[in-house]
Structures are given as structure tokens and as C-alpha cells.
Symmetry: C2
Subunit: 229 residues, 2 copies
DNA sequence: CTCCCAAATATGTTCATACTTATTACCATA
DNA sequence: TATGGTAATAAGTATGAACATATTTGGGAG
């Protein structure tokens, strides 16, 4: 970060944007000009501007040049760790308790997430505990044909959450966050009042054309997902 | 993306990780060796590995080399647009309705977020509408000393959300997502039943040592925050 | 045997240069 | 006046070489 590091260039660019020396919507100087002005190589300016663009503050297009974003869409990065790691990193004891495990016909809403109509689905539910307290209720469906060893794995020893992350390479996924209220059975599992507000994450991961697994996590009341920008 | 682009190198690295040619926890070849093997410059390998590391799949340390992450902490990127833009990009008509606006003494929980004890805080609440339907209830506090023109801006013409993004440069912020249930007044504003589950985002943004604004957004039932990984 | 310092080393960064590619602007043609 | 092709341009990428920096390793001093 001494004189002409890319971080220094980025800092200077951010300063000019914040100071309105480069107002929103206006084009900024070309990479080559900036390199000349700041006394560094164009590659260094490129690296810096690329980072700024990734944060959403400037927009870049070939030939057209770079301009300060008019409506900056801020990008926040969420860390999505394995639940056991998340709990243990807070210094709490982790435990998992399997509730149900059955190979069964899924409701249409679940079925729709698995494009393969022949998929044999395993349904697993369980509770993640932190220091003995309920932390999250996991409700998961796994495509047993797409995921080897699904039917022979003992989920009382390892949570499906962790087992899948360790043993099944995936290519991508969708995540959605929402809110719901605890049903009677959910309230009992999470030891909270019926109707309590619960934070929900729904995640579906796939490899190639095949959906591997789809999971709903209900977090105990008070859970907050936190990040910075 | 032809032969030896950094994207091609990244694809090959991802393939080897997924195929378990490079198992979790194991070190991977050095940049120089990979460059030689794949027939490209070390800088190209560096670029590719840096991207893979940013996604959380490998861990890199100087002198120690790179290794496949044992517990990959997946990184998901959230887009946080101005609410008006979010709604209009879905093709819906946006409107904002100011509910209250007063300079008043904040409760201690809010006060704690503004480090400056002398801060004069403006409290603004309003409703964001999509196609006439309630979308989100905004409850915001603004430090009038840190943010110029706070007291003279007409928030019936522009929402504080958008005004702040456009006119106040900030350096960073905290965001937390959680769930709550609608109180009586919240239910009335959002035209939903009392006790309905609401998705909440709490955001505090700052510049230097000064907290600029702190906002709580209550989204109408059914709202989902969506991303991919 | 333990502790600390120095050498070795892998990643991190900068640079000049050259080439690639998307996009715009301009001009000629219909 | 439209339209389509083409040249100009700015970002994107690749490369080899050099230097910077964080860690580890190993050896020497105590």
C-alpha cells in the first residue's frame, strides 16, 4: 500500500467519487490517462478500477469507458459456512439430532425443484443445536440417484448439511431468505412459542442439469444474518 | 476463453477440485508449476487462483502455498439496490408515501448506534409501494449534523432511501437480516394481519467515525431476498 | 534441548508491451 | 433519410521479468 499500489489507486478513485470530483453518472478518465496521472502502469489502474466496479460504484464498458454509477447497486458478500463451523466458531458446542429419515413421494412444490422426474428422493429432517439449545431446523430432500451413498449414509453421525458439503461437489445453487411463523410442530422442535417469527433460508444446489438437494432451514427466534458493506 | 485464458485455467482448477483429483485439505501445485503445465504465464494462473480463492474453494498463504479448503465457506453476493430501482426493474410502478417526520429524542437502542452523543437525529417513517400495494415500511434515523440538508429536504418528493444514496457518500455499513411479526400499527400500514411474519433488514451506514443513518425496513409478507452461488 | 535469526520459497504485486474484443462513431451507399 | 459496413477506441487479457512480503524451515547460539 505504499505509493502506487492498486490499493492506493482504488483509494484515490473512491475519494474522488465521494468528494463528487467525479459526480454520479459522469464518465471518469480513461485507464491510460489515470495511469499517466498517478504514475503507475495501466495494469495497476485496471486492477483498481475492476475492484471498484465489482463493488458497484462504477460501471465499465469497452470502448465506452467507465462512469460513476447513477444508482449504485451495493454488493454485500454473505459468508455461508457449514452450520457446525458457524456454531463452533462462536465457541459453542455443536450437536445434531436426526428427527426423520424416509424415502417418500415429495409434495409437488418440492418435486418442481428437481427437474428429473425419475428422481428418487430421500427426505431428512433434523435439529442443529448450539450448547444444547435449538439453533436451526433442517428439512432436506436429496436426489439419491444424483448423490452417491445417500441411502447408506448414517445421518445420526453427521448432519446432511455437513455430509453434502464434504462429499458432493456442486456447481451452483439458489438461495432465498424469507420470514415465516412457527407451526405447532416447528415450535415444539425449536422450543419456542407457536407463531414466533422465524428466519428462513431455502437453498437448492445443482450440478449440470441435475438438482442435487433442496433444503429449508428454520432458525430459532432471534437469529440474525449479518454482513458488512 | 479460448485456450489459455484465466477463465480456462479457473475452469480446469474447479474441475480438478470437483473430480477430487485435488482432495479437500490437500495442497495444490504451485503457481509456477501450473503455469508450466497449462502453458500460460504465472500471472494468468495467479489471476485464476485468486478468483477461486475469493469464492472460498481454496485457501492461499504466502510461502505455504494453496490448498483446497476443508470446509468451504461459500460466498454469496447480495445485490442491494435502491428500493425504487428494485421495484421498477420488475416492471411495477413505484410510489413512496411519507408517514411521519420529526426531530426527536431517540430511544436508547437507536442512540447507541450513533456514537456521537451530540447528534441531532431526524426520525422519518414512510411506506414504499409497488403497483399501489405496500412493499416495505421504512423506519429511519438520520444524523442531521453529519448529513447536510437533512432538515430542509422534502421527503414527500423523494424517499429518504433514495435521497441518501444519491446525495450522501458513505464509506461502510452493517446489514443484518432477521424475522419479526407485524405489530398492530405495522399490520395496518402494510395491510396484513397482525402477527404476520415479516422479513426485516437493519442497516447502519457510516463515514469516518460518524454514523450517518440507521434504518429498519419491514417487508410485506411474502418478500424473499434471492441470490445465487 | 530450546529459542531465535537467517535463508529459502510461494504467493503478491508492479511494470512495459502487445494483442484481443466489444462498442461506438462515422461515412458511404441505397 | 435510413442502413449497413468499417475504422477507431477503450477496456480486457496475456506475458515475462523483476521485486516485495509473509511464512516456514533449518541451523546456530545459548
Amino acid at each position: 500500500m505504499t505509493a502506487n499500489s492498486w490499493q492506493a489507486v482504488r483509494a484515490e478513485v473512491l475519494r474522488r467519487i465521494r468528494a463528487r470530483e467525479w459526480p454520479p453518472g459522469e464518465p471518469i478518465p480513461h485507464e491510460a490517462d489515470l495511469a499517466l496521472e498517478l504514475g503507475c502502469a495501466r495494469a495497476t489502474v485496471n486492477r483498481a478500477l475492476r475492484e471498484v466496479a465489482e463493488s458497484g460504484l462504477i460501471e465499465r464498458r469497452r470502448r465506452a469507458g467507465s462512469r460513476v454509477a447513477l444508482h449504485p447497486v451495493r454488493k454485500a458478500t454473505l459468508d455461508i459456512p457449514v452450520i457446525r463451523v458457524e456454531i463452533e466458531s462462536r465457541g459453542e458446542a455443536y450437536d445434531f439430532s436426526l428427527i426423520t429419515r424416509e424415502e417418500t413421494t415429495p409434495p409437488p412444490s418440492i418435486r418442481a425443484r428437481f427437474k428429473a422426474p425419475d428422481a428418487r428422493l430421500l427426505h431428512v429432517t433434523g435439529l442443529h443445536l448450539a450448547d444444547g439449545q435449538p439453533h436451526a431446523l433442517e428439512d432436506r430432500w436429496i436426489d439419491a440417484q444424483a448423490v452417491p451413498d445417500t441411502l447408506t449414509t448414517d445421518f445420526t453421525r453427521i448432519s446432511p448439511n455437513e455430509w453434502l458439503v464434504l462429499s458432493v461437489p456442486f456447481e451452483g445453487g439458489d438461495i432465498a431468505f424469507s420470514a415465516t411463523t412457527a407451526s405447532a410442530t416447528e415450535a415444539q422442535a425449536l422450543t419456542c412459542p407457536e407463531g414466533a417469527p422465524l428466519f428462513v433460508t431455502d437453498r437448492t444446489t445443482w450440478r449440470g442439469e441435475r438438482t442435487l438437494t433442496s433444503v429449508r432451514l428454520l432458525f430459532a427466534p432471534g437469529y440474525r444474518l449479518h454482513t458488512r458493506l
